[in-house]
C-alpha cells in the first residue's frame, strides 16, 4: 500500500511536470488557431528551436541557464514574427489544405536544418548545479529540476492568465477570438494583434521547448514526434481558450505518465483512444464553444 501510494505521488508529480510543459508549449497554438483559424502544424518547430537555442547558447557560447531560457523565448518570438509577416500572412484566407501543406513543408525544412546544424543525436541540456539533486517536501524527495519546472511554468501560466483576463491587450484578444470582423469594425487592429499574439505564443513554445528538453528530448524529428500531443492538447482543450488546454495538458501529462509506468506494453494507446472518445463526445473540445 505504501509502495502504491508512493508510486501514485510520483506519477502525479512527473505527470504534472510533463503536463505543464505541454501547456506552455501548446497554449500559443490554441490562441493563434482560435484567433485566425490557422492550422499551424509547424508549432512544434518553435519548441524545438527553443531547445536547440538553449543548448547551443550554453554549450557553444557559455551562456548561463536563465539567460539561455530568455534567449530561447526572445529569439524564437523574433523569428516567428519574420515567418508570420513573410509567409503565414499570405495564407490566412487560403483554406485548410494549403495551410496544412505549407506547415508540413516548414516541418520538413526545420527537421533538415536541425540535422545539418546539430546532427541526428538527441542533445542534453547541461543543467546548472543548483537545479540538480533532490528537493525534500513532506518527507519525500523530489527531483529539484522537476519542482523548478512546475513552479516556473505555474508562474508563467499565472502571468499569461492575468494578461489575457485583466489587461487591455487581453480584452482585445478575447474580442477578436469571439468575433474577428466585429472586433475589427470597432477599431481593433486585428492584424497587428495577431502578429503580437503569434510572436508571444511562439516565444512561449520556444521557452517550453527549452524548459522541457529533459522530458521531450531535443532531436531533429521533434516536430513530427510530438506534434500529435500538441494538437491533442489544443483539440481536446478547445480552440481559442486558455483554460481548456490547461486541463487537457495536465490530463494528458498524468495519463501518459501513468500508462508508461503501469502498463508500458500499451504505450500511448489510451491517450489516443481517450482523444477520439472526447472529440466524438464534444467535437469542439472540452472547453471550446460547440458549434
Amino acid at each position: 500500500m505504501e509502495a502504491f501510494l508512493s508510486s501514485l505521488v510520483s506519477v502525479a508529480f512527473h505527470g504534472a511536470a510533463y503536463g505543464m510543459i505541454l501547456y506552455v508549449i501548446s497554449v500559443g497554438l490554441s490562441v493563434t488557431m482560435g484567433l485566425m483559424g490557422f492550422v499551424n502544424l509547424a508549432h512544434g518547430v518553435f519548441a524545438m528551436a527553443g531547445g536547440y537555442i538553449l543548448i547551443a547558447a550554453m554549450d557553444r557560447f557559455g551562456v548561463s541557464y536563465p539567460l539561455g531560457l530568455a534567449l530561447a523565448f526572445v529569439l524564437v518570438a523574433a523569428g516567428s514574427v519574420v515567418l508570420e509577416r513573410l509567409l503565414y500572412s499570405r495564407l490566412y484566407t487560403a483554406g485548410e489544405l494549403a495551410q496544412v501543406l505549407f506547415t508540413i513543408g516548414l516541418i520538413f525544412i526545420a527537421v533538415a536544418t536541425a540535422r545539418l546544424l546539430f546532427g541526428t543525436l538527441q542533445l542534453l541540456v547541461p543543467l546548472p548545479d543548483y537545479l540538480k539533486g533532490q528537493f525534500g517536501l513532506l518527507g519525500r524527495d523530489f527531483p529539484a529540476f522537476r519542482v523548478f519546472l512546475i513552479a516556473f511554468s505555474a508562474v508563467m501560466v499565472g502571468i499569461l492568465w492575468y494578461g489575457v483576463e485583466r489587461t487591455r491587450w487581453g480584452a482585445m484578444v478575447r474580442a477578436a477570438v469571439d468575433n474577428g470582423p466585429m472586433a475589427q469594425s470597432i477599431g481593433i487592429n486585428t492584424r497587428r494583434l495577431f502578429t503580437i499574439t503569434f510572436a508571444l505564443g511562439s516565444g512561449l513554445a520556444g521557452l517550453g521547448g527549452a524548459l522541457g528538453a529533459e522530458i521531450l528530448t531535443v532531436q531533429p524529428t521533434y516536430p513530427f514526434e510530438h506534434l500529435v500531443y500538441f494538437l491533442i492538447v489544443v483539440a481536446v482543450g478547445g480552440l481559442g481558450s486558455l483554460r481548456g488546454p490547461f486541463f487537457a495538458a495536465l490530463l494528458i501529462g498524468v495519463t501518459d505518465t501513468a500508462c508508461k509506468y503501469w502498463v508500458p506494453q500499451f504505450g500511448a494507446f489510451f491517450i489516443y483512444v481517450a482523444t477520439i472518445a472526447i472529440l466524438l463526445w464534444r467535437p469542439a473540445g472540452l472547453f471550446g464553444r460547440q458549434g
Partner: protein, 325 residues
C-alpha cells in the same frame, strides 16, 4: 487537352490518357534495371490516387490515410508470414476487405466532424494503429519490421522473380484497375456530388444530396484502394516496416500528390513519378538537403503553384494557345 477530369467533361478515354500505360510498358521492356523502382512508383501512384479521390475531389482533409495503406500492408504480411496464406490474390482481397472495414467504421464516426477535429481524429486513428503495430511484436515484428513473408505464384502461374518483372506487371494491372474505378467515379454524377460537397456542403444539403452518406461511401472506396496499394507494397518488397504507418510517410504522400496536382486524376501519376525518381537520384547522396528540398518545394507549391506540376503545364498550354484565363 490537359483538362481537369470531372463530371460534364467528355468521359471517353483520350489518346493522351493511354500514354502513361504505354510509357509503363516501354520502361518494362527498355529499362529492366529500373523495373524494381518502377514497381514501387506504381504502388505509390495507386496510393496517391486513392488519396486524391477523397482529398482532391471530396475535400476530406486527412493526415491519416496511411492507416489504410499500413493496415493493408500488415494484413497481407501477417497472412503471408504467420498464417500461411500465401496466395497473393487472397492476401490482396483480405487486405482490401480489412481496409474497407476500417474505412467504413472510422468514416461513419469521424466524417460528421470538420476542420481541426477531423484532422485530429484521422491522426489519432493512425497513431493507434502504429501503436498496435509497434507493441504487438509477436504478430507484426514491432520495430524490426515483419519479414519472411512468403508469396506463392500468382494464379499458380507467375512466380515473383528476383528481377521484379512479375511484380511490376502485377502492380501495373492492379493500378490499371484502380485507375479505371477512380476514373469512372470521377466522371459519374456521384463524383460530381463529391465536388459539390467539397465546394459547398450546405447547398448540397439544400438540394437534398445525402452528403454524409456520400462521404462515407467515397471514404470507404478510397480506403479499399489504399489497402490494396499497401498489400502490393508488401508483396513486392516481402517486408513491412513500421514506417508505413508513420506521420512522415503521410507527409511524403501529400507532397507527392500536391507536387503533381490535387483534384486532377493525373496529378497522382505525375507527382509520385517525379518525386520517386528525384529521391532515387538525390536522396542517397544528399539526405539532409533532400528533406530540406522537399520542404522548400512544398512551401513553394503552396505559395506560387497551387495546381502542382500539371497546373503549371495547364497554364503553359493555355498561354501557348493564346487563351485567356
Amino acid at each position: 487537352m490537359i483538362r481537369r477530369a470531372s463530371y460534364g467533361e467528355p468521359a471517353r478515354i483520350g489518346w493522351l490518357e493511354w500514354l502513361p500505360w504505354a510509357a509503363a510498358l516501354a520502361v518494362f521492356f527498355a529499362l529492366p534495371e529500373y523495373v524494381p523502382l518502377g514497381a514501387r512508383i506504381l504502388v505509390y501512384i495507386l496510393f496517391a490516387l486513392s488519396l486524391d479521390l477523397i482529398l482532391g475531389y471530396a475535400g476530406i482533409i486527412t493526415l491519416g490515410h496511411t492507416a489504410f495503406f499500413g493496415l493493408g500492408a500488415y494484413v497481407a504480411g501477417i497472412l503471408g508470414a504467420k498464417l500461411g496464406v500465401t496466395d497473393p490474390l487472397l492476401q490482396m482481397a483480405a487486405a482490401a476487405a480489412a481496409a474497407a472495414l476500417l474505412g467504413v467504421a472510422t468514416g461513419a464516426v469521424i466524417l460528421r466532424t470538420r476542420g481541426l477535429t477531423l484532422l485530429m481524429l484521422t491522426l489519432a486513428i493512425t497513431a493507434i494503429l502504429l501503436e498496435i503495430a509497434n507493441k504487438a511484436t509477436a504478430l507484426t515484428g514491432g520495430a524490426d519490421g515483419l519479414s519472411g513473408i512468403s508469396v506463392t505464384p500468382i494464379l499458380g502461374q507467375f512466380r515473383f522473380d528476383m528481377f521484379g518483372k512479375t511484380a511490376y506487371l502485377y502492380c501495373l494491372l492492379v493500378l490499371f484497375a484502380g485507375w479505371w474505378i477512380v476514373r469512372r467515379i470521377i466522371y459519374s454524377p456521384f463524383g460530381a456530388s463529391l465536388v459539390g460537397i467539397r465546394e459547398n456542403v450546405v447547398r448540397m444539403h439544400a438540394i437534398g444530396s445525402p452528403a454524409y452518406a456520400r462521404l462515407i461511401a467515397v471514404y470507404t472506396i478510397s480506403a479499399t484502394i489504399a489497402g490494396c496499394a499497401g498489400a502490393l507494397l508488401t508483396q513486392t518488397n516481402q517486408f513491412v516496416g513500421l514506417n508505413v504507418l508513420s506521420f512522415e510517410f503521410a507527409g511524403e504522400l501529400l507532397v507527392m500528390l500536391v507536387l503533381g496536382g490535387v483534384g486532377r486524376i493525373y496529378g497522382a501519376f505525375v507527382g509520385p513519378l517525379v518525386y520517386m525518381i528525384a529521391q532515387d537520384q538525390l536522396a542517397k547522396q544528399f539526405p539532409e538537403y533532400w528533406y530540406f528540398g522537399i520542404g522548400l518545394l512544398l512551401v513553394a507549391v503552396v505559395l506560387f503553384a497551387r495546381g502542382g506540376l500539371l497546373g503549371i503545364a495547364d497554364r503553359v498550354v493555355s498561354k501557348f494557345r493564346g487563351e485567356r484565363r
